[in-house]
Symmetry: C2
Subunit: 476 residues, 2 copies
């Protein structure tokens, strides 16, 4: 009991907390200045060996040094030369909100388990829905990430459009289902479909154009192919933007196609839905207000720590159809919509984290314009970088970037295997610890891929990247 | 840009962080002392109105007062008279680890995006597997909650036991599937099954005995009923313990049944798997080492902030079969097991939070015995409370508690509608703000339900609860 008392002692929490904050502030300062490695070069086998898996029976202490080790052995997303996957350098204040959320641990399945959390979630979801251009009937939830979010939206789509009660009767009560989606769709859509038991054929692929956008004039053909394969098509999944190149599918014409064929339109806006906040860029999302459901990750372009994703429904009633079910120890058995405040009835999670606080706080304290400015800044940077790469004779870009994702490759003269060169250069870049970027294959060619998601990456950083790539390629 | 610079300023983070820590330490002290309400009495409509949903365009500040409002309008799980749902009063140090996890935001889909996070997850998962009695072939992942965890395990079960490749070919390539589970199973199992498209009949219910444990001698009958309904049974889901009453299904005889019928044994140990850490109580879990998969929530009896759940597989290779898929921008296309360190291939999440740090830190810094002591303490308390209720002529318990969940009701003489009385008393208890407990229906009767999960709830608190219930009932 004494050990438990000590572990919960508020004064120990206070003093440890101050130390943690100082250690993390020091990390933040160093990373933003760029005086740390971006990603320490260490192999999986090595680090797993070092960290071990035996734990002592008795208290040993050592929390400060453990935190130091965790910081040192992490990928430093606040470093301006972190230009890798679409995971953001979060607002430090949002991390503090997560501290409060963690300590309060209000689980939110039912209203009682998180009154403030529930109220803030309603606020944030309402705000998101309005930004998308949805009307007052819209509703939605926050959930633990885009994969869960896309699954949640597709469950609602299944229930709305299958033509039979799949939830109660099961898949065998009707024909196999399918959605149409472009070849650039995030893998979690395919996963969601296969989780639901539709098999690999549950996504019927629509080809993309030279800009990696869905070829909407191929939708009819895909629709017929699906029907020919015995599939009942329930909807179309559009990407806004796609993962590999950040391409925005043309939502207006997809919405037309859905209207004409009575299909659900789901927009995976995990990365790009945030662009509604930028006057200059929201045109890319024209038509999103006609979507039946939209997924929007706040841990991408809203500068939030992972995971926090909005699932928004134009017709809020749809939000109650994904999971409707009884659990007597939780929900009181009334009509689901009368219990709008028991959000667990509408999320895959039962207990959930207090996901709303950090978004609510950032919008309230910093105001909404910060986000529009941030978005525009990263996209402008990507477009200037694309121009710079296009000018250079020894670089090529995969496609003109529509947002802040850019794929390019180094093409110095006299190299036989350019694909191998990209992989080699990327590997060596990582070994220098000076940049973190990733790789992807596009139409059979190997590219380097960057997401310019850190607010402080500069033109000079990207100039240095080109220089470094040339140096490493030349010495290969 | 200046706004962004200010928002990321390490010195602003430092000073704001210190203020946050102080505010939260004050909350913690007041809640542990019991000088706050447990749950403030406020209606959903009221709080949603007060919090609003308009956000300013420009920065307004006010973070401290916002935090104060969030604290005041939350359920105070650290209050010793929080005796409600199975969500724990987390270790304050674990909340600090979540602060670091949030700021570092290492997303972990691939090793690069979280080297330390990946190493610590391997450590924690390995430790969990050994505690369950699994051998060296075991493996698993951490995921965002028990609902996602149970779904993940059942996807692996589906792939292993359906007799056809459901993942690739879809549900229609074989007969409808089913699992057997008791009538006390958590609703998320039914949900997982209906997500997978098995319909409501995808769970074939096995009745429970007087102690709310699965009647294992009814398994054969349920199996035949399922077959008669044209279902191919792939496994049994056992509860350890159940949500409503904390009952532990007899795992040994369920494991025998699974062995004899070539079925997958999944144990939903969200609440109870932690009991392996208590010498005196791990007998309730005898047989868990024979399970094919186990779900174990650390945000229940491991004192962690939500969500963090282990999904453990006795045969670690099964862990690769739930979601195996290609995504060229993430996974390099080798054999999945050669990329054991890219954990996103085995979780529903792509990007995931750094879930491992808080568990790793607690085990490392406090040692493992703290948890066994805590568990034993809560169970002993529940058993003493049950004895006290049994002795009292005006109380009855639903069933002798096996762990720290207890259902009881107040049965004063001369009350016609005892069910209504329980609901009324619970409502009034909540209005006093002095206790938080919940309600459940068991076999047609209304009960009050407590989870004694706060480490500091005392016999005196529970004596006071009885007194308060009598007072409120008498004045009803």
């Amino acid at each position: 009991m004494d050990d438990l008392r000590r572990a919960f002692d508020p004064e120990v929490f206070r003093s440890t907390g101050h130390v943690f904050v100082d250690q993390l502030a020091d990390y933040l300062a160093a990373a933003l200045r760029g005086t740390t490695p971006v990603l320490p070069a260490i192999s999986p086998g090595e680090i797993v060996r070092v960290w071990g898996s035996e734990f002592p029976e008795q208290a040993t202490g050592g929390l400060q040094s453990l935190l130091q080790r965790v910081i040192e052995s992490s990928n430093h997303l606040h470093h301006p030369r972190y230009i890798g996957h679409q995971v953001t350098a979060p607002l430090p204040m949002a991390a503090l909100c997560d501290l409060a959320a963690a300590l309060l641990n209000n689980g939110m399945a039912v209203f009682d388990m998180g009154p403030a959390a529930t109220a803030m979630e309603r606020s944030v979801v309402g705000w998101m829905a309005r930004q998308l251009g949805f009307g007052p009937a819209a509703d939605g939830v926050l959930t633990s990430g885009g994969s869960v979010g896309n699954l949640t939206a597709l469950l609602a789509a299944r229930q709305a459009k299958a033509g039979f009660d799949v939830w109660s009767e099961g898949a065998h009560a009707g024909p196999p289902l399918a959605v149409l989606a472009s070849d650039q769709t995030h893998y979690c859509v395919q996963r969601a479909v296969q989780i639901m038991g539709w098999g690999a054929g549950g996504v019927v692929v629509v080809p993309s154009d030279a800009g990696y956008r869905m070829r909407t004039n191929a939708l009819g053909d895909a629709f017929r192919r699906a029907q020919h394969a015995g599939r009942s098509v329930i909807g179309v999944v559009a990407s806004a933007g796609s993962t590999a190149t950040g391409a925005f599918d043309p939502l207006e014409s997809i919405a037309d196609f859905c209207r004409d064929n009575d299909l659900w339109l789901h927009v995976d806006g995990a990365h790009g839905a945030s662009l509604v906040l930028s006057e200059r860029h929201r045109g890319l999302l024209r038509g999103i207000e006609r979507a039946d459901s939209v997924v929007w990750d706040a841990h991408k372009m809203l500068l939030m720590p992972a995971l926090v994703t909005g699932v928004l429904f134009r017709d809020g009633a749809r939000s109650y159809q994904a999971f409707a079910q009884e659990a007597t120890y939780l929900f009181a058995g009334e009509e689901p919509q009368e219990r709008w405040f028991d959000i667990g009835a509408r999320t895959l999670e039962c207990t959930k984290k207090m996901l709303s606080f950090k978004i609510y706080a950032a919008l309230q304290v910093y105001g909404t314009r910060l986000f529009g400015d941030y978005l525009a800044r990263t996209i402008d940077l990507a477009q200037r970088f694309a121009a710079r790469l296009r000018e250079a004779p020894d670089f090529e870009i995969a496609v003109e970037p529509q947002c802040n994702i850019l794929c390019f490759r180094h093409v110095p003269p006299g190299v036989a295997d350019l694909d191998a060169l990209q992989l080699q250069v990327r590997q060596r870049l990582l070994e220098t610890e000076g940049f973190y970027l990733v790789q992807t294959r596009l139409r059979g060619k190997q590219f380097l891929r960057t997401t310019l998601i850190n607010p402080f990456t500069s033109d000079a950083d990207l100039e240095a990247l080109m220089h470094e790539i040339r140096r490493l390629a030349a010495s290969a």
